[in-house]
């Protein structure tokens, strides 16, 4: 089976700072890859590099064996690379349904078909009862779910989730974990950047740990969490 997503030797430089330094990752359909690391480790930058939002200094991104290294973000989205943003960005002037409609129009010009798809996605994230509310009025937890519905409405094959669990209360967190796990069972390949270890340990098949732009460890959640280097990166040494 081909890799859903494969990134090799990704390097991103901002002026003199190397934000991501030769990081590689690969992911198969139906798997979840967790990406963890302390603040400023380069997780979001790696995300933006893979999805085309920041240019690469060097490296290569393959999407189902197709080279998308220089493709602009919208081409990657059209090919089936869905993403959420860490600072969730609903189209505030639009209603909840219209927000998802924008993505749902990707594969059809017909409003009826797009509306139906958008409504299905809202049902999945349990926002369907708020379809006509202005998106700017939603609270944080619901904005996170809306972000997810928007990403799902492009009908992606690979989904990159940037801290969708952050700031959720325990019941909302449980719901989000259940949702991500069901998406993965449907065959979606998922990369998730997350600080919530509970979610990472429960969901990930494979975990990559970044610190100062470099990959310092990888393996199963269990291997990674018992790795002394990882503990050091998180807690520091005396």
């Amino acid at each position: 089976m081909p890799n859903a997503l494969k990134a090799e030797g990704i390097t991103v430089r901002f002026g003199g700072v190397v934000a991501v330094d030769h990081v590689s990752l690969s992911l198969e359909p139906g798997n979840i890859l967790g990406l963890i690391g302390p603040n400023g480790a380069g997780k979001t930058t790696l995300f933006n590099a893979v999805t085309g939002f920041v240019p690469l200094e060097s490296g290569q991104v393959l999407f189902f064996d197709q080279d998308v290294t220089v493709a602009p973000p919208y081409k990657r989205a059209q090919a089936g690379m869905g993403r959420t943003f860490q600072t969730e960005r609903p189209f505030e002037e639009l209603t909840v349904l219209e927000n998802v409609l924008v993505s749902a129009f990707l594969h059809t010009p017909k409003r009826k078909t797009a509306e139906k798809l958008a409504m299905e996605m809202l049902e999945r994230v349990e926002l369907d009862d708020r379809y006509d509310q202005p998106a700017g009025d939603l609270n944080l937890a619901r904005r996170r779910r809306l972000e997810l519905a928007k990403a799902l409405a492009i009908q992606p094959k690979v989904l990159l989730l940037d801290e969708v669990m952050a700031g959720l209360n325990p019941p909302a967190l449980r719901e989000m974990i259940g949702l991500v796990s069901s998406l993965c069972q449907e065959g979606l390949a998922i990369v998730m950047v997350e600080h919530i270890m509970e979610a990472i340990i429960e969901l990930s098949d494979h975990v990559i740990v970044l610190a100062s732009g470099q990959k310092i460890a990888e393996g199963t959640p269990k291997e990674v969490t018992s790795n002394p280097q990882v503990i050091e990166a998180y807690l520091g040494t005396d």
Binding site: Y74, A77, L101, F105, R111, R130, D132
Partner: protein, 317 residues
């Protein structure tokens, strides 16, 4: 959608009976309709796509000059010269957009001021083409079916058809995929890209449609003036007026530009006749008040409250 179309039908009927009720104010009527059409066309780029242009006088000028030069130099009827102006305006927008859509926010807006300036200088300096600084006088027009195009009433019906046509276009866009692409690009280009939208392409398309439609109204304006001067047609003030009309009425709404046109043109008319010298002051204060208290414009604010109210009502069962 249906409600918008009914509204448009009512507008059309009101527009058709206006010359019977107020035959003395036909010129005001033409001005309102032209501004309604221009502001609605401007709004496709400035409101729906969020790219504020202060250069739309360029496209008014292109339309007017094509009609004038076409008729005086080449004996071209407006139904030939206006489509030519539309094509030139759209190509111009395409070229300008390709150069400047890398700029964001106020920088794009500033760049659009230069479009009209460039065209104004061409119109002044290339006398062989444009009649130069002295201008062009339209001395001939064909008379299809015996209709005199210099007659104000006939110009009025042309302006009505123009305004209704542009508004119908916007109604169509507002519900379509393209309409949602425009809104997404306005709200957040990164989010739009994540939804598979190419922002530059969407903005170029909006700019081309907007400028092409503006040129049509420019052609009618040329007929109405029948004497064209570069200082009037490519004037920054005209660009600002078109933008203000849409902003005050409500950017990114179907009815805002029309409301803005009725309000600004009639207010300007009333203030000028009743307050003489103080008219610009009052006009300015009015604009200031609306921008301070209704920052999304009259219809924009109304729509926003309506959406909230409808949601609240439904949510409470």
């Amino acid at each position: 959608m249906i409600r918008h179309l009914i509204g448009l039908l009512i507008l059309l009927i009101l527009g058709l009976i206006y010359p019977w009720i107020m035959p003395g104010t036909l010129t005001v009527g033409v001005t309102i309709l032209l501004f309604a059409g221009w502001a609605t066309a401007w709004d496709i780029l400035g409101g729906w796509a969020g790219q504020v242009s202060l250069g739309h006088a360029s496209f008014v000028g292109i339309g007017a000059y094509f009609v004038a030069i076409g008729a005086t130099e080449y004996a071209l009827a407006p139904w030939w010269s206006i489509p030519m102006a539309v094509a030139v305006a759209a190509l111009f927008a395409l070229a300008w957009g390709r150069l400047t859509f890398k700029l964001h926010g106020p920088y794009f807006t500033l760049s659009t001021i230069a479009i009209a300036e460039i065209l104004r200088l061409i119109a002044i300096n290339e006398g062989w083409l444009t009649g130069g600084a002295t201008g062009v006088f339209i001395d001939w027009m064909p008379t299809p079916f015996g209709i005199d195009l210099f007659e104000r009433e006939n110009q009025y019906y042309l302006a009505l058809a123009f305004a209704v046509g542009v508004m119908a276009t916007t109604i169509g866009i507002s519900r379509s995929r393209f309409g949602y692409q425009l809104r997404a690009v306005r709200e957040d280009e990164n989010s739009a890209m994540a939804a598979g939208i190419n922002p530059t392409r969407v903005k170029l398309k909006a700019f081309m449609i907007s400028s092409a439609l503006t040129a049509v109204g420019g052609g009618i304006y040329g007929l109405m003036l029948s004497f064209l001067e570069p200082h009037i047609l490519f004037y920054l003030l005209l660009s600002v007026q078109i933008a203000l009309t849409a902003i005050i009425g409500g950017r990114g709404t179907v009815w805002g530009p029309l409301v803005g046109a009725v309000l600004l043109v009639s207010a300007g008319e009333i203030f000028r006749t009743s307050f003489a010298e103080a008219n610009l002051l009052i006009y300015g204060v009015l604009i200031l008040l609306i921008i301070l208290f209704l920052p999304s414009g009259i219809i924009g604010e109304f729509n926003r409250r309506l959406t909230r109210r409808l949601y609240a009502k439904r949510a409470q069962g």
